[in-house]
């Protein structure tokens, strides 16, 4: 099913492990070089900058090529507005993708990413076009059910064929949306069942991912899937989400009325992040630990949304100070590694260091000091706090 050369994939995995071993100083550079020659990888996988550049350029090519073709065909009646034409364009992109990957051995090079998303997007648009026509003739199930059902299959196919992380995530999210929009199938108690169903499905997929660990070629996809299973599983039982979603599906709750089984959802909201963290620490699993850390924030926001114990600025200051204190304590505690934990950076990621992301993020989020007075010297200056650091 997978399009890539399996031996190369195996060699790539081996090379990555050996490179890490070399960075840690376990094996010598000579040995590494030897192994790289012995177990070659023929993929074309450039660094992240080339990948970004090639992605943009490929998008330019595909959009102008599509535009040119449409321009030539525009004289024909209703051809370029028909879904079939979109499907045709999508299939062309897909064929180009297969050729690039098979003939030129591109592997996450930016070109294949661009073609993959273009192909998937065009095929999906074609499907939406057909669906709209079908809807005019009367459709039995809701529009979205078909839509997400199809996305699930499409993204699932791309995941299996190209082992792409994002596609894996898209297919999982489609599954969840499919369940959400197909809730009528579960009868009148849909709103009540839905949270538990989504939790069960997320948990199921999570354990499947662990079971599927033997499929090494899809390691990235499985990791990404597990993260999203943890997040979605949490969100499905989060008090705020359940309440809002329930309100959307049924009548909104009256003022002051609590959710049925409110205690369960509150426990889920508050306790689950800590369960993740505890399990992550116990099993030394990065995925669980980091998901837990992110979700603590979600739990805090949910709680604050319903109970205002103190004004926001006080909460921010106290939490900020507490975080600093906790990190200080842990760093101090881990000065020498204890119980298999260390504060030292074991395997420093070369790439991150090279583009110095951290300094840019700090510069971005803190660069607009509250101190700058209105009307600066040259005029026309506006300043302000953070922005995204999406500037690569």
């Amino acid at each position: 099913m997978i399009i890539y050369n399996k031996t190369w994939l195996k060699n790539l995995d081996l090379q990555n492990q050996l490179k890490r071993a070399q960075r840690l100083g376990d094996i010598t550079a000579e040995e590494l070089k030897h192994m790289e020659e012995k177990y070659p990888v023929g993929f074309y996988t450039p660094n992240i900058f080339v990948r970004a550049g090639l992605f943009i350029l490929t998008q330019i090519i595909t959009s102008f090529a599509g535009g040119l073709l449409s321009l030539i065909l525009s004289s024909m009646d209703e051809l370029i507005t028909s879904p079939g034409y979109w499907l045709f364009l999508g299939l062309i992109s897909y064929i180009a993708l297969e050729l690039i990957v098979r003939r030129m051995h591109h592997f996450r090079s930016g070109v294949d990413d661009a073609l993959m998303w273009t192909a998937a997007g065009l095929i999906l648009s074609a499907f939406i076009g057909y669906l709209t026509i079908a809807q005019r003739n009367g459709l039995s199930a809701p529009f979205e059910s078909y839509l997400f059902g199809f996305t699930l299959v499409l993204a699932g196919y791309f995941t299996l064929r190209f082992a792409d992380m994002l596609m894996a995530v898209v297919s999982f999210l489609s599954l969840i949306f499919f369940l959400f929009f197909s809730r009528e199938l579960f009868g009148v108690y849909a709103a009540a069942i839905l949270p538990f169903l989504i939790i069960l499905v997320s948990a199921g997929v999570y354990f499947l991912c662990i079971y599927w660990k033997k499929y090494k070629d899809y390691e990235n996809c499985l990791t990404a899937l597990r993260v999203f299973c943890l997040l979605i599983g949490y969100a499905a039982g989060n008090y705020f989400v359940v309440k809002e979603m329930g309100g959307m599906i049924n009548q909104p709750l009256q003022e002051g009325e609590g959710l049925p089984l409110g205690w369960f959802f509150w426990t889920w909201t508050i306790a689950l992040p800590f369960v993740y963290i505890a399990l992550g620490l116990k099993r030394k699993e990065v995925i669980l630990l980091r998901s837990g850390l992110i979700l603590v924030a979600a739990a805090a926001f949910t709680f604050r949304n319903y109970y205002h114990i103190m004004p926001i600025e006080g909460a921010l200051s106290i939490v900020g100070a507490a975080l600093l204190a906790i990190s200080y304590g842990v760093i101090h505690y881990l000065k020498t590694p204890k119980k298999g934990f260390t504060y030292e950076e074991l395997d420093d990621d070369q790439l991150l260091d090279k583009i110095k992301v951290e300094s840019l993020i700090v510069g971005e989020t803190f660069s607009g000091p509250a101190s700058a007075p209105e009307g600066s010297r040259m005029g026309g200056g506006s300043f302000g706090g953070g922005g995204s650091s999406a500037d690569f």
Partner: protein, 326 residues
């Protein structure tokens, strides 16, 4: 490493026994690093605390005594700097590795609270009067000083942003594009001068071998700012017959930076230069196609973009290979 893997490797006799032993030891005592988690927590802590304090002051400006607030902020700032002074490594012209991330973020908190302190002084007591230049100049000086003294890239970025504020503009990229009011010629010239100053600063740090690794930050901001301002300068003078001078300057600058990036084997800068030049070149071409004013020009335009993008892809792949090989 996978157990089956290294047994196999050992059989094939590619890896020495000592190395295998190393791997085996690591396998038996796996260490789990909390480095990134703790670093993120520190970052969040600094961000939340400084934001919270900022709002707290803003809201209670009339109720709490000003001196009390000032004292608290000053205490935090002094405390942070005191910690950093105690734990710092001695100054060097080369790169100084910071003792730990806690040091980095406490330094950051110290700087942030100092900025709040100065801002508060100005707001409440207008110490600098209406001389707003001074009120931004002093924080900027401090930021640059701290960045060099303690070798902190994040604070250097903040210093660069403050330099821009002092010059009357803001350089955070998001700000540059979202709120940039490029109609104003003064703003464009200011940006351009700022960009060139940053590029110069980057080159000088290398020339004088003084904190050479700061070059990246200077060049990163310098390249974006100069190219964007040159492009906007061109559009601002679009109808003028001399508008091509802007693009001419852009190509000269691009050529210089291109050779420089080749010399330093920095693919990131090379990519930026190539993409910005491509944009400028395409602008000329599109202008030409518009001037033809015929339906055929649209076809030509499409063909141009397809052809040029393919050529550029080949160029990037080629350049990447060259840089890797050298």
């Amino acid at each position: 490493m996978n157990a089956t893997h290294y047994d196999k490797l050992k059989e094939e006799d590619f890896i020495s026994d000592a190395s295998i032993e190393n791997i085996r030891i690591r396998e038996q005592n796996p260490l789990f690093s909390l480095h990134w988690e703790l670093k993120t927590l520190l970052y969040l802590g600094v961000m939340l605390l400084s934001t919270g304090l900022g709002i707290l002051i803003y809201k209670n400006i009339d109720t709490i005594g000003h001196q009390v607030i000032l004292a608290i902020i000053a205490a935090i700032s002094i405390g942070c700097f005191a910690y950093c002074l105690k734990h710092r490594a001695p100054f060097s012209r080369e790169r100084v590795k910071s003792p730990n991330s806690l040091f980095d973020y406490l330094l950051l908190l110290g700087c942030l609270s100092f900025l709040t302190f100065v801002g508060y002084l100005q707001f409440q007591y207008t110490v600098f009067g209406t001389n707003y230049g001074m009120a931004t100049f002093i924080p900027m000086l401090l930021l640059f000083f701290v960045a060099y003294e303690f070798d902190h890239l994040g604070i250097l970025s903040m210093g660069i942003a403050n330099l821009a504020i002092w010059m009357g503009v803001s350089v955070t990229p998001a700000q540059l594009l979202s709120s940039g009011n490029f109609d104003n010629e003064t703003v464009i010239y200011t940006y351009l001068i700022l960009g060139l100053i940053l590029l110069l600063a980057g080159q000088l740090s290398e020339y004088f071998n003084f904190k050479k690794h700061f070059r990246f930050s200077y060049l990163h901001f310098g390249i974006h700012i100069s190219f964007v301002s040159l492009l906007f300068g061109y559009f601002n003078h679009y109808s003028s017959s001399l508008s091509f001078i802007w693009l001419l300057v852009l190509f000269v600058l691009a050529f210089y930076l291109y050779t420089d990036a080749r010399k330093h084997k920095s693919f990131y800068f090379l990519l930026l230069v190539v993409l910005y030049s491509y944009i400028a070149f395409s602008i000329i071409m599109v202008r030409g196609f518009i001037a033809i004013n015929d339906i055929g020009a649209i076809y030509l335009c499409c063909l141009y973009f397809i052809g040029s993008a393919i050529a550029l892809i080949r160029l990037l792949i080629y350049l990447n290979k060259q840089i890797k090989a050298s």
